[in-house]
Symmetry: C2
Subunit: 295 residues, 2 copies
Amino acid sequence: MKVDVECAPCLLYRGYRELSKATDDMETRFEVMEALLKLEQSEFGPEAVPAVLGTKRDRLIKVMTGVADPYQQDKKRSNSYALMLYPGLRERVLSKGGGWGSFSEAVRLSILGNSIEMDVLDHNFSPEDISRLVEPLPLGIDTSKEIFELAKKSKSVLFICDNAGEIVFDRILVERIKELGARCTVAVKGGPVLNDATLLDAHEAGLDEVADEIITTGSDSVGVFLEDSSEKFREVFEDSGLVVAKGMGNYETLTEESLSVPVAHLLLAKCDPVARSIGVKRGEGAASIRVPTIR
Amino acid sequence: MKVDVECAPCLLYRGYRELSKATDDMETRFEVMEALLKLEQSEFGPEAVPAVLGTKRDRLIKVMTGVADPYQQDKKRSNSYALMLYPGLRERVLSKGGGWGSFSEAVRLSILGNSIEMDVLDHNFSPEDISRLVEPLPLGIDTSKEIFELAKKSKSVLFICDNAGEIVFDRILVERIKELGARCTVAVKGGPVLNDATLLDAHEAGLDEVADEIITTGSDSVGVFLEDSSEKFREVFEDSGLVVAKGMGNYETLTEESLSVPVAHLLLAKCDPVARSIGVKRGEGAASIRVPTIR
């Protein structure tokens, strides 16, 4: 997905928020902001990809402030709040009777969990808000039945996670995928970026108890670019009958790839450019699937 | 007032919003956004003044889109909604019994009217929200008694307006200043900038019926810089016993001037940098006065 005009202030706003978490030193903040403006000025244009600019921005902030993980505390709190909700949400999913009933409920909850994202312009969310996330969102696009059928006939499914906290909601969906008989590999980020889940979060959320294997993308980029990922990740990706990709970052990057496997995007549209691109309204959820035309 | 780090995304966000009002053409929007990034990249730093960057941004948008007044409709609606509230608000002020009672109530309403501003990051306001503006705000700083005493002993007062719609609220305060016996000159912008009031708005709001004279600053800059203003404006400014300056833009610029007359700032702090600078919390009002130490 390419940037829209409004991505320019949003990318900078998020940079400011990250920077404020990383350092209190005003001189450093100004230096980093000036560097961010320089970066954006040199790279912003109709062909830019928001996740690429975001990745460069985040690496710059980490290097210039010396803080490797500005969202460390937010992630920890997100996981711990979400885990408090886990038993009740899982029970709700199981009460739908297994198979399609439980699967579709788990898809909706997983999309709802994608609300857990900090510092997006006009999308206010803090870990404390997680307890509000008990009512499923309306879905502007819902191809979950197709996703269900694909998961059912796949030997192996790759589940690419997005944010900490959200992965507790994902765990319930991973359990459903396992129930359908597929091997399920869960991928998290190879290094800290935004409030995205890393290996530490996957273990905190208990994903290691349900997934067949936890791997990383091998990169700290926003979303996931195949050429930027580890060989292991690429292999698992290509060998999957279905890839489930959570969130906006993975949507922004994977829509730039020419894919040979079906990819299901589960996300909450938190900004207009992504909403327009995927075809829903801002604030709506989407369960969308892209199937390669040539296999 | 100098910029804070967070002014960088805010200045760009407002540029995006103005640009969206000015043109639907995506190619032009991208071209202008790239020019805005270039402008900000070259001028942003600890010594920059937000209103200066804002002025350059707004002129650039006007020139590149060919739209002289992107906020024309918003201003018209703001005036017309505010005029519907005018009789009730005026009655409330008059019921305080004239003199100090009425004056202090009028100051509070005038500050409340400063809410009427569009497209400030994290300050959502549209003309339709004006009807909510009936309850005075808490003031974090309140030197209105001092302002009252100064107005009482001044032969002439200059009242520098900020936004359209807001000027209807200001009208009630101008009436109170007149009641104290001072000549009152009202100044509006010399050309369209943001949703700031111009001569057209001053007439729509009926300010010409209460002020002794309506002048303009002679400039379309955000806030008011003396050297950028008309000779007439500078003369009136220097000859006043009291200058009342509404809003954040006038605060940002006049705090950069070395003044020979007392200036009262009446504003609602809609962002943290201004709130910190003047000494209130964001979302609070301020009635602050700066009196020159050397006269």
